[in-house]
Symmetry: C2
Amino acid sequence: MSASSPQQIALIGLGTIGMSMAALHLSREHNIVDVFDIRPDFEDYLSKTLPIYMSQGPSSIDSKSSSGSQPTSLVESLVSSGRLRIHSSLETACASATIVQEQGPENPDWKQSLWAQVEAIAPPSAHLWTSTSGIAASIQQLQMRDKTRLLVVHPFNPPNIMPLLEIVPAPETLPARVEFAHGYFSVPGSKHRPVTVRKEIPGFVGNRLAFALLREACHLVQEDVVSAKDLDTILMASLGPRWAGNGVFESYQQGGGEGGIRAFLEKLGGTMQTVWEGQGRVNVLGDEGTEWKEKVITQVDQAYGTLSADQIREKEARLKDFVRVQTQRYPTGGAEI
Amino acid sequence: MSASSPQQIALIGLGTIGMSMAALHLSREHNIVDVFDIRPDFEDYLSKTLPIYMSQGPSSIDSKSSSGSQPTSLVESLVSSGRLRIHSSLETACASATIVQEQGPENPDWKQSLWAQVEAIAPPSAHLWTSTSGIAASIQQLQMRDKTRLLVVHPFNPPNIMPLLEIVPAPETLPARVEFAHGYFSVPGSKHRPVTVRKEIPGFVGNRLAFALLREACHLVQEDVVSAKDLDTILMASLGPRWAGNGVFESYQQGGGEGGIRAFLEKLGGTMQTVWEGQGRVNVLGDEGTEWKEKVITQVDQAYGTLSADQIREKEARLKDFVRVQTQRYPTGGAEI
């Protein structure tokens, strides 16, 4: 079955990421989504929560089905049409899946045990995806007999809005499994942009880049160069919109004029080397280099407080706006498999 | 004179940044801009180039004055209305300035000599701004008698579109000079967001954050984790739009849920520390750790080639779109002085 055909997706674990993933899969008209979660009030929670995610997505279906003002009826309508099936056992959820995707606890033992069970009950052809942000597929599959099927599909939160999916196979994962996942998320009309990461590396790529910037950000706040809030303003007023439109390498290719990034590196090399040599080496664990933590946490709490549900919705609306502008300006696809 | 009153700005050096700065200042209806540059064809170059920048700005004036389809007439019209004055000497350019702003070569000797001259010819009340990205005000003012007037106003390219201005005073710069610069760029209706950086530090804040991310990006390409183009896609499909809408600290405050950034640091601390300890330590100068350069340059050239004028215009249109969305969603101002 090709990646652009309708799929039957068994979703295991429906917290924040799982719920958003359900909305993503259900936004494709002919997909069937089987959901399984161990929380006792799961059906009630799903009825209340799923409609919120489905009304947010880049290709929301709420105009086509029940009104968003009657949230429970959307889930009822999806269930009665056979597109959403709520399960009370892993067995029935996976029984006829073409894709099994987990968003469970970030715990290697839990994931290893899950995949051994899934292997025993799901069809052998089913694609096996983990949404983990940190546990490599090669670790998760240690108890599996067939080590060619599992791969990481790491979304950025919330996956129904955020375009990126990092696809990270284990060394033993079959290339056809990678191609299928890539194809599924980049069908024509999809707002998503899957990118394959070639090596299993902690943090994959997106979080490594984010954490590199964050480390310097924490250092600058600790050194009183700038407040946490002003640092956020600096980022939003410069690098954020720049990198929403052009990647870091493309930006510096442009920054170098006719000589491209080579000329840029020659021109800015002195400052860059000085900055690299003076980078902060703060730590987040241990006893050394962690003085920044209380200062940063205090400043961030003072600047933003606890975010209300309304504020979070406003932030997601912003994100959606940026993604919409980006999608209009960019053809989808184009990333290498 | 208050920062929101019309100003008379002497601009010294009109390359890319200077021309964009001229467009920014001229977008305020009552400002008068005096321009001085040593290139022999300056007047001709200005006539051809300034209209391009003025039609790009967030508050373009081209609808109010001459048509963009007859570019030379815009400069003629600005000159005949007295809002733009072209000078052939530094003396006449600075003679009655309320602000003198330089975008000359990034050379400490050149800048020290310039400011010593400017001090002798400009009114003592004039504010002195340097657009440098790397030479601190405390270095530039070494030959000045009065060391309380000069400060860095570091724009991001192109300043007529990009909201950020990093204001970096020297230790001896008077606070009133900092407040004036801050006030000038944050008048009501301005799309710009000035932020004061409290210490003179190489790369200031924006470039330090960018270079921290770039260093890890170069390391990941060197290690074949991802191609340069795919890394750009990852950044554009996740962190770019996220940081266009919310800063890095605000994002993690949200990411931690009710527990805020403290909970986020606890939850992700293990991965973060592992990533920080494994960060690439590539160099841009010297003989060690520079193997990445040819690989990155080759991949970037293959991915993007030399950018045409049309491609650059398209990129700036994208940037302008993101800034527009951001400005609609955000009240301006709010940064601490």
